[in-house]
């Protein structure tokens, strides 16, 4: 079977179907079930091509440029946010501060990671906003989940450095994203999967117990018989357990998604890996494993080669080309459009998936925040950092293009907290929080 077909058919469709069947009872119970707000950060690297990214006009009547075209279906449920600037100075080069301060809003420690320019740096001095929200949710039994947050990656290099980490649990505590979908699957379902696997081999194992005990004296056979009884008991228990799990009448149990086999972490598999990760994310929301997630596509200065778009050069290399290099310029538009397609795919999957809490679709309760470490690749500017949001997890006014002029991005971090119902006076470096959250965003 073609892997794409496999993906199209896999996991979630069954899960969604069974949920739909369980829906009447869910709806009845929903009066008592609060809506589950969720937050997802999607990162793509190396800046965008602003002219083909930002709508020309702010306001409700905005146009979607080439890069954002894939999001056309969601125009009513999205917003673009221009004028957000990462003002954090201090150690580290533009890319490092771009990713390391993006969600933390605070400087990097002095350290020994030297970029192409500026001074060397270490890790961020503070917690990132996703981890802050997760901690708040986990502190309240009503919103606590098994994992709190899940950090997905796509082809993030197996190298812990300032360019590869966006999320921080605290000062000097970078959170490593999991780039291997199988590893993420293990984290989410390993236990259930192992039990399923165990259940499927025990009968054969019991057969071999009989084979080996044939030649034994009755006394020696005693311990083996006892052992075999244990094997049979476990088998019986597991059967009952699995039967109960697949019955799916409570609505809280959902099918374990299936991943296509043997997808190696290689550049050319990036599209599949991205889709696998998105499926795992959707499924973990269905199971309420977490309410905060991130999907980090490669890393700051990431070098994916989008061979599936017939682009042979690495993204970061291309992003340094001057705008006058028309070929590179065009490729960068197409690369960024591909990222937008991934965001759109995620939004679509959320839109077609009913929220297990009974309140609309997943997308109605989830805000996807797509961002980047730079405003534009060849200038390394951290002004006008791309922020595009889709979905209704935050109480923001949607269907609008915003332009805030030139405000520190700490104010947006405060707005995110406000929109999530967790307002704070400051986040990150307080110097940039003086004017509080952005105004005019909240419905």
């Amino acid at each position: 079977m073609n892997r794409r077909d496999f993906l199209a058919q896999m996991g979630i469709s069954t899960a969604a179907a069974s949920l739909l069947m369980g829906l009447p009872s869910l709806c009845m119970g929903s009066a008592a079930t609060n809506r589950r707000r969720r937050l997802v950060f999607v990162f793509s690297p190396n800046g965008v091509i602003p002219n083909h990214f930002w709508p020309d006009e702010a306001g409700k009547d905005f146009d979607l440029k080439r890069i954002l075209q894939p999001l056309a279906d969601f125009k009513d449920q999205m917003l673009t946010m221009k004028g957000i600037c990462n003002r954090i100075q201090g150690d580290g080069d533009g890319h490092m501060r771009g990713i390391g301060c993006l969600l933390t809003g605070i400087e990097l420690f002095p350290g020994d990671i030297q970029g192409g320019s500026d001074t060397p740096a270490g890790w961020s001095m503070g917690i990132s906003v996703d981890q802050h929200v997760k901690n708040q949710l986990q502190a309240d039994p009503a919103t606590a989940t098994r994992f709190g947050s899940l950090e997905f990656g796509v082809m993030v290099p197996d190298r812990a450095d300032t360019w590869t980490r966006m999320s921080y649990a605290g000062a000097n505590q970078p959170v490593a994203p999991i780039s291997d979908p199988y590893q993420m699957f293990d984290k989410l379902y390993g236990q259930a999967k192992n039990r399923e696997m165990l259940a499927s081999v025990l009968d054969d194992l019991a057969g071999d117990f009989k084979r080996v005990s044939k030649v034994l004296s009755s006394e020696d056979r005693q311990i083996l018989d006892l052992h075999l009884d244990l094997v049979r008991n476990v088998e019986k228990e597991l059967k009952t357990e699995l039967a109960a799990a697949t019955k799916n009448d409570s609505g809280t149990v959902h099918a374990v998604p299936k991943l296509p086999p043997n997808i190696e972490e290689q550049n050319d598999n990036m599209p599949q890996i991205t889709q696998m990760q998105i499926e795992l994310m959707i499924n973990s929301f269905l199971a309420d494993f977490a309410r905060v997630a991130s999907l980090q596509i490669t890393n700051s200065v990431g070098q994916p080669r989008m061979t599936w778009l017939d682009i042979k050069e690495g993204h970061h290399g291309l992003s340094h080309e001057p705008d006058s290099n028309e070929e590179a310029y065009e490729k960068l538009i197409r690369i960024n459009t591909w990222y937008a397609e991934q965001v759109a795919h995620m939004a679509r999957r959320m839109k077609e998936t009913p929220d297990p809490s009974g309140h609309g679709s997943l997308l109605d309760n989830t805000t996807i925040i797509w961002t980047n470490e730079l405003g534009k690749g060849n200038s390394h500017t951290r002004d006008n950092i791309p922020f595009v949001m889709v979905g209704g997890g935050l109480d923001f006014r949607l269907g609008e293009a915003y332009d805030f002029g030139k405000v520190p991005h700490n104010r947006l971090l405060l707005s995110i907290l406000e929109g999530f119902g967790m307002p704070e006076k400051t986040f990150g470096n307080p110097e940039f929080c003086g004017d509080g959250p952005l105004t005019g965003l909240i419905t």
Binding site: D91, L108, F109, P110, G111, D112, I113, Q114, T119, P120, A121, G122, W123, R159, A160, D161, T162, A171, N172, Y182, Q183, D186, G190, Q191, N194, M197, L198, S200, V201, D204, L205, G207, D208, F209, R211, V212, S213, V215, L216, S218, E219, D220, I223, L224, L226, H227, L230, V231, N233, V234, P261, N262
Partner: protein, 827 residues
């Protein structure tokens, strides 16, 4: 190799009380009902069992116990025997199975009253049924009765917890090559005048005894600039005792530490970031194993101010305090990749005095499942890529490479070639079931490790004789599987076939070759700590006022010192048991020297290692102190364990020598006693207090044997420090011993005692038995009196050579069963 995917969410923690507790419970119940004779034998020797059923002193209920038993016996003979056979063994036409089970006497009585004898159930009812039920229950039916009646024999056993850990370690190791023993200590170091590995810029190569450096902003070695350098340390970490180890690194610069598997990064501090300088990881590590360790330490050149360069490699061993890892645990050669099981396994039955895998229960089964899953995940991430690299030229048609990998894994795990059915079940079916390679590996490993073919090593009646020999050798010497190429090669040539005239000698040669192995070191050390009754993880608490300075760090130093003492004697050419009692020096350092004085003063200056108070942490030989130091016998770690919080305990010391060293039996005291409070008897010495308390004649029956042995060690106080006075009174260290044949020996000094222990026949016999049971995990008695005598004789003739003794034990285990079967076949 130890974290991430490796850690199963559902790693089972052990909460089950040791099975030994159950046995204790049985014993306690027996005590209450008065079967005291049996109880004492069980408790004292652990493995001898009285073959005689108890015929008197049974609890009275209605009629006298003995009377009821006799009546029950008569009824059994008259009415039951014809079907149920002698001793309820069955095997008749009327009833084939033996009568055994766990029903109570009253259950049995009502069953008999209702149903027996079959032809006329009315014939045996009421008191008759009760009497015969009691007779059956007490004589052969109940578990306690079975235990009593069973002649010492070799049970079919599953792998013990230790054996599972060791076997999985070697199953892994098989794909990377065996670990080897080296004498050198410390870690290899390469200092580069560059920020990375660059042969041209290599300035200094040397062995660093420990890693504890504070270079500041200076150059670490000559020829290297302080503002940019790279140090690569490599070698391995030796582990003496199985347990949880916390590895601690302090580093102010960029640093990576690889551990176990050569590519497994345990600590990744690629980014130096201000304030992040301490890194801790906890691992379960296995005694007798050596784990590859590689460290990259880089001071990177930068525009901004350099941090001072500091690096320390420390650990917290089980029960220990945090210290710089001492040099004797570091070796400069990088050993092949290795594996340590992180899943906790429940403790095994120790009711016979050594671990036995004779019980299976749910908790154990769950733990084995968790272990199998853990191994399956590692097999996928570490063994499979290794196998693929080695076989990259082989054809991979129809997944034949993966098939080859799993077949080899199963063959090693099962200690024999796979038959057709096993090949299908353990390999082919799992491949067919899972399209995904890692999933197929996980399935296959789950089955292989949960298989009786892996878990019951002696379940190998079908295997070739040479396979069976190799299985028993590896089990005896290492608690593990045969995995070394040379041994597998000899097996494949059927080198140990019993019909060969030199078969036994060939087996001995193989055992000899195996005896020079680090894995034997682990099993040996476990035996000695067990013998000396020292739990390496246990704390030793002493009165802080009286023994100021006897703290956790010192206890750790003493543990190192004891390990070194034992290891040195064991691995010396003569490997002479008697030296354990005779060496007049100790392995020491200046800290121990300051505390313990003569006998502990370092004979040479130790290298100053570590920044701990600027004193040398390295163990060196002390200046000899004749008359004050007798090897293991008077080692402070042993003496302090056999003491109370603030005073010595001649009774504990005496019991230890009587039971453990001399192998004699003692029954437990009539009741529990609290030792007399020294504060209430300020004028008495410890010796006098003990004499006062145990002076009554009913105590003296045993204490005349115990006390006089313990008194001979009164020169060693509660922390093992030599003393000549107690409470201002001179120490009286005279003592004596009444031998098995009634001879009285007296000791004027500890030297006499040590000399006696080193050369006494009973002690030699007891040591042989202990070695046998620790290594074979079976009672020596089960192999017959001749075998025991022969081993003692060989031990004596070899000059009490301990390594040779273990070799001979392995030969006995490897040849015994085969001899029997071979002889049976030929007659």
């Amino acid at each position: 190799m130890f974290f991430g995917k490796r850690m199963n969410d559902h790693a089972i923690t052990s909460t089950m009380k040791s099975l030994a507790t159950n046995v204790e419970a049985i014993i306690r119940v027996s005590i209450r009902i008065g079967c005291c004779g049996i109880v004492c034998v069980l408790l004292s020797t652990g493995c001898q069992v009285s073959a005689e059923p108890p015929t008197d002193e049974l609890p009275a209920s209605g009629e006298s116990g003995a009377g009821e038993m006799r009546r029950g016996q008569k009824i059994y003979t008259d009415q039951c025997l014809s079907c149920h056979g002698e001793g309820g063994r069955g095997g008749t036409e009327g009833y084939a199975d033996p009568l055994l089970g766990d029903a109570t006497v009253s259950d049995l009585a009502s069953l008999i009253a209702d149903t027996m004898p079959e032809e006329d159930p009315e014939q045996c009812v009421g008191d008759d049924a009760k009497a015969v039920a009691r007779f059956i229950h007490e004589t052969f039916y109940s578990e306690a009765a079975q235990r009593r009646n069973r002649p010492a024999q070799r049970d079919l056993s599953r792998l013990t917890g230790t054996q599972i850990q060791q076997s999985l370690a070697d199953l892994y190791q098989h794909f990377f090559g065996p670990s080897y023993r080296v004498k050198e200590r410390g870690l290899s170091a390469s200092y580069f005048d560059s920020g990375r590995w660059d042969k041209e810029k290599l300035k200094v190569e040397r062995v660093d005894p420990v890693l504890d450096f504070d270079f500041g902003r200076e150059s670490p070695v000559e020829g290297v600039t302080p503002d940019e350098f790279y140090i690569h340390w490599s070698g391995s970490l030796r582990v003496e005792h199985t347990g949880r180890y916390e590895i601690v690194v302090e580093s102010t610069c960029s640093m990576k530490l690889r551990f176990g598997h050569h590519d497994y990064v345990l600590i990744d501090n690629h980014v130096q970031s201000e304030g992040k300088t301490e890194f801790r990881r906890t691992l379960n590590l296995i005694g007798g194993r050596q784990y590859a360790i590689q460290i990259d330490f880089t001071q990177r050149k930068r525009k901004t101010e350099l941090p001072p360069a500091k690096f320390a490699l420390r650990w917290v061993p089980p029960g220990g305090a945090e210290t710089v890892i001492p040099t004797e645990y570091l070796i400069p050669s990088t050993q092949p990749s290795g594996f340590a099981l992180q899943t906790k396994l429940p403790p095994d039955d120790r009711s016979y005095g050594y671990d036995r895998g004779t019980r299976v229960d749910r908790q154990w089964d769950d733990a084995v499942t968790a272990a199998a899953l853990e191994f399956g995940s590692i097999a996928g991430s570490e063994l499979w890529p290794q196998y693929r690299r080695k076989h990259r030229r082989d054809s991979d048609e129809n997944r034949s490479r993966l098939r080859g990998f799993l077949s080899e894994l199963a063959t090693i795990a099962f200690r024999a070639p796979l038959d057709e059915a096993s090949q299908k079940l353990y390999v082919d079916d799992q491949l067919a079931e899972a399209e995904d390679d890692l999933l197929a590996i996980a399935r296959s490993c789950l089955l292989i490790i949960k298989s009786p073919r892996f878990l019951y090593p002696t379940l190998d009646h079908d295997a070739a004789p040479s396979n069976r020999v190799a299985t028993r050798l590896a089990l005896t010497m290492f608690d593990s599987l045969p995995t070394d190429e040379w041994l597998l090669d000899q097996v494949s040539k059927n080198h140990f076939a019993p019909d060969h005239k030199d078969a036994e000698e060939r087996i001995r040669q193989a055992a000899l070759r195996m005896s020079d192995d680090q894995r034997l070191h682990g099993k040996m050390m476990e035996m000695f700590f067990d013998w000396l009754d020292i739990d390496p993880a246990a704390e030793v608490a002493k009165d802080e006022n009286k023994y100021a300075g006897f703290d956790k760090v010192m206890i750790l130093d003493l543990r190192r010192s004891l390990e070194r003492t034992i290891g040195d004697v064991f691995w010396s050419d003569s490997s002479d048991y008697r030296q354990l009692f005779s060496s007049d020096f100790n392995w020491t350092n200046s800290r121990l020297g300051d505390f313990f004085g003569e006998g502990w003063i370092p004979g040479v200056e130790g290298r100053v290692e570590g920044r701990v108070d600027g004193v040398s942490n390295e163990l060196v030989q002390s200046k000899p102190a004749g008359g004050r130091s007798f090897g293991v016998l008077t080692h402070p770690l042993v003496m302090s364990h056999l003491s109370y919080f603030d005073t010595t305990s001649p009774i504990h010391r005496g019991v230890f020598l009587f039971r453990r060293v001399l192998g004699r039996t003692l029954r437990p005291p009539n009741e529990a006693f609290t030792p007399l409070n020294p504060d209430l008897h300020p004028d008495l010495t410890t010796r006098q207090r003990v004499e006062l308390q145990t002076g009554e004649s009913k105590c003296q029956v045993c204490h005349q044997k115990i006390n006089t042995l313990g008194f001979a060690l009164e020169n060693f106080d509660a922390v093992g420090r030599f003393r000549e006075q107690e409470n201002g009174k001179p120490i009286d260290a005279t003592g004596g011993y009444l031998s098995r044949d009634g001879q009285q020996v007296s000791f004027a000094t500890p030297a006499d005692l040590a000399n006696f222990m080193a050369n006494n026949d009973d002690a030699h016999r007891a040591f042989v038995e202990r070695v046998f049971e620790h290594f074979a995990k079976q009672p020596l008695a089960a192999y017959g009196e001749d075998v025991a005598e022969d081993l003692v004789k060989r031990f004596r003739d070899s000059g009490y050579h301990m390594r040779r003794l273990i070799v001979e034990v392995a030969v006995v285990v490897a040849t015994h069963q085969l001899d029997q079967e071979y002889n049976n076949e030929s007659t």
